[in-house]
């Protein structure tokens, strides 16, 4: 059975682009902001990895990381940040909060697949 990846992004277009890139390797589930993403991380026990945007309404990706970490949900659950942000301070903040990777949009599908294979299928 294909491993399950959660994509958290407020753009439906980006969620579908990520789904299309990963569809041959993974099952993809979606959340449209940090609040939905955190709910999914807390409630589901079948996620192999998470791809998460940084700037989103209601709750951003860095806050999601911190809250998921505080709930002990990042153990064994790699999170890759997929964002337009490239600011080194944000990358460091994400890494310190438990993120396992960072890709700046627009993403190359083959690069995303390779990154998710490394993270979700170690």
């Amino acid at each position: 059975m294909a491993k399950k990846i959660l994509i958290v992004d407020d753009s439906a277009t980006v969620r579908q682009q990520v789904r299309a890139a990963l569809v041959n390797c993974f099952e993809v589930v979606e959340a449209s902001d940090g609040v939905e993403g955190l709910e999914a991380i807390v409630e589901r026990d079948d996620l192999a990895a998470v791809i998460c945007d940084v700037n989103m309404p209601r709750m951003g990706g860095l806050e999601l990381l911190q809250l998921a970490g505080a709930k002990g949900k990042l153990v064994g659950l790699p999170i890759l940040m997929l964002t337009t942000e490239g600011q080194p301070a944000l990358v460091k903040q994400a890494k310190a909060a438990g993120a396992k990777g960072w890709i700046v949009k627009p993403f190359k599908p083959e690069l995303l697949v390779a990154a998710m294979r490394k993270l979700a299928e170690p």
Binding site: S11, N55, E85, G101, F107
Partner: protein, 172 residues
Amino acid sequence: MRNFNNRAIDDIVFNCCRELFSAYKLDVQPRSRSEFPATEALAACGVMGFGGKSMRGALVLATTREPLQHTNPHAFGSERDWVCELANQLMGRVKNQLLTLGVEILLATPAGLRGENLCPTLNKVRAPQVFAASSGFVCVWIDCEYTDGFELPSSPPPGLEPPVAEGDALLF
């Protein structure tokens, strides 16, 4: 000072816009303001607000239908959602360029509008930059205000850590 800053930021936006569409394999060439498309031809428009210690404002990206279709060939999502994401990615590039000059800004989330009601005033100084694609048009403009005395640096301050480049992947 304000004119200097505006010219510099316009140059950044110009280059970032061409680079963004190039990343989607769409060559966009600058055109004169007189070639600005009829406003009813504009399909959608994305607006990105931003703010920081030295400057704040908004970036607007408006396009006709063809560039949206070319950059999103599978027609995922809606036109409005996609133009918002393109505006987000464009402003992300502008932010990265500003970071290389030591200027930090924070980005808001994008807002989308239908393009049909947009009617920019083309004879103003802060008029849109117009680009033609192989088919269709892309228009972009940025409207900033600056803290008194602020001058956009023309070169990076020494020792500055560069931002992660677009398309790059870091695994920790």
